[in-house]
């Protein structure tokens, strides 16, 4: 597993099946100075997570292959010591049990679609700050 250098920009994995949405997220995050990798679906995201050390995971809930929730579960099971902050995106509303997801899956933030790209950038920044404090 390659470790991004401390000097380089924080690297962010965006798992989103909708190309249009992932494009705009990539643009905004890159604009904010982050290094962005996009996964087209959950399976691809899980493969990337196994090979690369990211600083933040931004994942959609509903995706072909593994869902965002399944990716998180796998991550927590296989890498219990890796406290990767996760930002969840969902087009769903109240039916998601936010509290349970936060406690069990260590999800930092849940953003409801439609969300503002600035919110996403701010959420990512906040996650990175928290990780920095922990270290």
């Amino acid at each position: 597993m390659s470790t991004p250098s401390t000097t380089s920009a924080p690297s962010i994995l965006v798992a989103e099946d909708n190309r249009v949405m992932s494009d705009v997220m990539r643009f905004n995050l890159q604009n904010a100075g982050y290094q962005v990798t996009v996964a087209r679906n959950g399976t691809e995201a899980w493969e990337l997570l196994q090979s690369t050390k990211f600083d933040v995971l931004v994942t959609d809930y509903q995706m072909p292959g593994l869902t965002g929730e399944e990716v998180c579960t796998a991550l927590r099971i296989h890498y219990p010591d890796w406290h990767l902050p996760v930002i969840f995106l969902s087009a769903r509303g109240l039916e998601l049990n936010v509290d349970r997801m936060k406690s069990e899956l260590g999800i930092e933030t849940l953003l409801h679609k439609p969300f503002s790209p600035r919110e996403l950038v701010e959420a990512v920044a906040k996650c990175l700050e928290k990780s920095a404090q922990l270290v």
């Binding site: 909708n18 249009v20 949405m21 494009d23 705009v24 997220m25 643009f27 905004n28 604009n31 509903q62 072909p64 087009a91 769903r92 509303g93 679609k113 439609p114 969300f115 503002s116 790209p117 600035r118």
Partner: protein, 602 residues
């Protein structure tokens, strides 16, 4: 007589009998007195006597002339037996009795003698005997032609009138007795006519005089009259229903038996299953619908007596209301593992009017709510899908618009691509809203066509071009097979295009990368056939019939993963129908599907 009189009311029968017998006795009495009076007032005994003597004389003359007097003695005897005749005799020309009412005197010489000429008719003379007694005698000559045979001597009793009265007195008892007898018979008839009613009246009076309203004795009657027979039936019924002693209960029971058949008919016509259970939960009644609902025959006779729990699949929780038997309960019973196997809603209510008993009878109603459940599920699914379908383009539009607004974009190419994205997403949103609108019109039944003449070839090519980008994106081989010459047809262009784009869009959506989609149009004499065939994931055979139901989406995970409203095929089918055509589906799971629209061309 009996039958006719039974139709008359009793009062009229009594009156008519009364009048009839009264009249008969009055007439009899009047006739008797009239005859008596007539006889007394207008009676002339001498004249009648002489008339009678003449009668007998002519008979004797004829006998003497023709039979030499063989029957004369008998004729004289006959005359002598008359009440007013003391004696009679025939004396020949020699003065000898040839016949006499006292036979001892025959052959003797008559003491008195009259020589009567033929011209004499009758002579009355008074004879005085030696002992001083006198008697009136009539003497009549017996002459036939010129021959004189002698004469007839008739001695008459003293008082002719008294004899007459005496005869009348003989008849008097009859004249008085006949009306009395008539009245007597009349009385008996009247009494027998009223006997039945009197007996009934007596019993009713006893009932009204009794202390307890419920306890009384009714006796059957022995008379053969229809009224008595009717009474006996009433009594029989009243005695037979001793167990339900109040009059109310009796009434409701007899009414009930009449209504039972009607309710039975109503219950068996209901679409909902209805059952009654007794205190132990055993079925006492089940209607036809219940039999059908439980996938048995409409014949429910074999259900009777079975515990109601047996009717539903094991695990159906029928004891939910245990201990609360007076409360109605409602629960749902699944008939199988999935919703499509069927769901029954069972409600149990206590039978009204049974509140006081500790163990209650219940009435159960069972309704098939499978369709309702499926519709509910589809609606839920639709809300979920619709939310996703609306949110995704909206989220994109918002993200791109904000990005454009917040960031100073220096690259005009990028700016343009962002704007194009916003445009495309807005279009997608608009299309979905359009779809929703079509569905709401379908729901309201107001989806209508605005037909215009279109060039079919151009239209189909346009449609092909519209969906080609989707095919290209997934590297799907897209074949469009059109006949060389296509006519112009009258269709609602927008809806026709939308329907076909739906089919082709589905084919692209549910066909994996590198698959194959064929868009084929064939033309028969008066029929247009448009088919869309793919090598996609296919549809399981049990889902094919539901495919065109609004909001239906397959349970297949590969379908669930993709966004969709569940409205496209419903819309396409409706459009085909409105154009006078139909949509047919052939599909095999994991092999592919074929959707064919067949429609007439005018």
């Amino acid at each position: 007589m009996q039958l006719r009189s039974s139709h008359q009311p009793l009062s009229r029968r009594l009156l008519s009998h009364y009048l009839m017998f009264g009249l008969v006795s009055i007439i009899t009495l009047s006739l008797a007195w009239f005859w008596l009076g007539h006889s007394v007032l207008g009676g002339h005994p001498e004249r009648a006597l002489i008339h009678r003597i003449h009668e007998v004389r002519s008979l004797i003359v004829a006998d003497l002339a023709d039979n030499r007097g063989v029957g004369t003695q008998a004729l004289v005897g006959l005359l002598g037996s008359e009440v007013w005749v003391a004696y009679a005799g025939v004396i020949d020309t020699d003065g000898t009795y040839v016949a006499h009412s006292k036979p001892t005197r025959v052959g003797k010489i008559s003491e008195t003698r009259f020589d009567l000429d033929a011209q004499h008719t009758v002579i009355e003379r008074h004879v005085v005997w030696q002992d001083g007694s006198s008697r009136r005698e009539y003497w009549v000559p017996l002459v036939s032609g010129t021959t004189a045979h002698g004469c007839l001597q008739v001695g008459v009793v003293d008082d002719l009138h008294a004899t007459h009265w005496h005869r009348m007195a003989d008849w008097l008892p009859y004249a008085i007795l006949a009306p009395i007898l008539t009245l007597g018979i009349g009385g008996l008839v009247l009494q027998s006519t009223a006997r039945t009613n009197a007996a009934i009246e007596g019993q009713l009076c006893a009932v009204s005089a009794g202390d307890s309203p419920n306890d009384f004795q009714l006796q059957p009657l022995t008379e053969p009259s229809p009224a008595a027979q009717g009474w006996n039936r009433l009594v029989e019924r009243a005695l037979g229903q001793k167990s339900t002693s109040t009059l109310d209960a009796k009434l409701s029971q007899s009414l009930g038996s009449l209504l039972d058949k009607r309710f039975e008919r109503i219950l068996s016509s209901l679409p909902d299953g209805v059952a009654m259970t007794d205190k132990e939960g055993h079925i006492t009644y089940a209607n036809r619908a219940l039999g059908v609902l439980l996938q048995q025959s409409p014949d429910t006779s074999h259900l009777r007596g079975r515990p109601i729990q047996e009717l539903f699949s094991p695990g159906a929780d029928l004891h939910r209301g245990a201990g609360q038997e007076t409360r109605p309960i409602v629960f749902e019973v699944p008939l199988g593992a999935t919703l499509a196997d069927g769901v029954l809603r069972v409600s149990r209510s206590p039978v009204m009017g049974d509140e006081h008993s500790s163990a209650m009878q219940h009435v159960w109603t069972v309704r098939d709510i499978t369709q309702q459940k499926l519709a509910d599920e589809m609606r839920t699914q639709f809300v979920y899908s619709a939310t996703h379908e609306l949110r995704t383009p909206l989220a994109n539009i918002k993200a791109y618009a904000e990005t454009l607004a917040v960031n100073e974009l220096t690259d005009p190419e990028q700016q343009k691509s962002f704007l194009n994205t916003i445009y495309a997403e807005a279009t997608r949103l608009a299309r979905f809203v359009e779809e929703l609108l079509n569905v709401s019109q379908m729901e309201a039944g107001s989806l209508s066509l605005h037909r215009t003449e279109v060039d079919l070839e151009r239209l189909l090519t346009e449609i092909g071009d519209k969906v080609r980008p989707q095919m290209v994106q997934k590297q799907i081989t897209f074949d469009v097979l059109l006949p060389p010459k296509l006519p112009k047809i009258q269709v609602d262009k927008d809806k026709f295009v939308a329907a076909l784009v739906n089919l082709l869009g589905n084919a692209a959506k549910y066909t994996p990368d590198n698959g194959c989609v064929t868009f084929k149009v064939t033309l028969a004499a008066k029929e247009l056939q448009i088919s869309v065939e793919d090598t996609g994931i296919g549809i399981s055979s049990d889902e094919v019939p539901k495919l065109c139901t609004k909001f239906f989406r397959s349970a297949d995970d590969r379908v669930r993963d993709l966004p969709g409203s569940g409205l496209g095929l419903a819309f396409t089918q409706e459009v085909a129908r409105l154009h006078g055509g139909k949509l047919a589906v052939h599909s095999e799971l994991n092999k592919g599907s074929q959707f064919t629209i067949t429609m007439p061309i005018a």
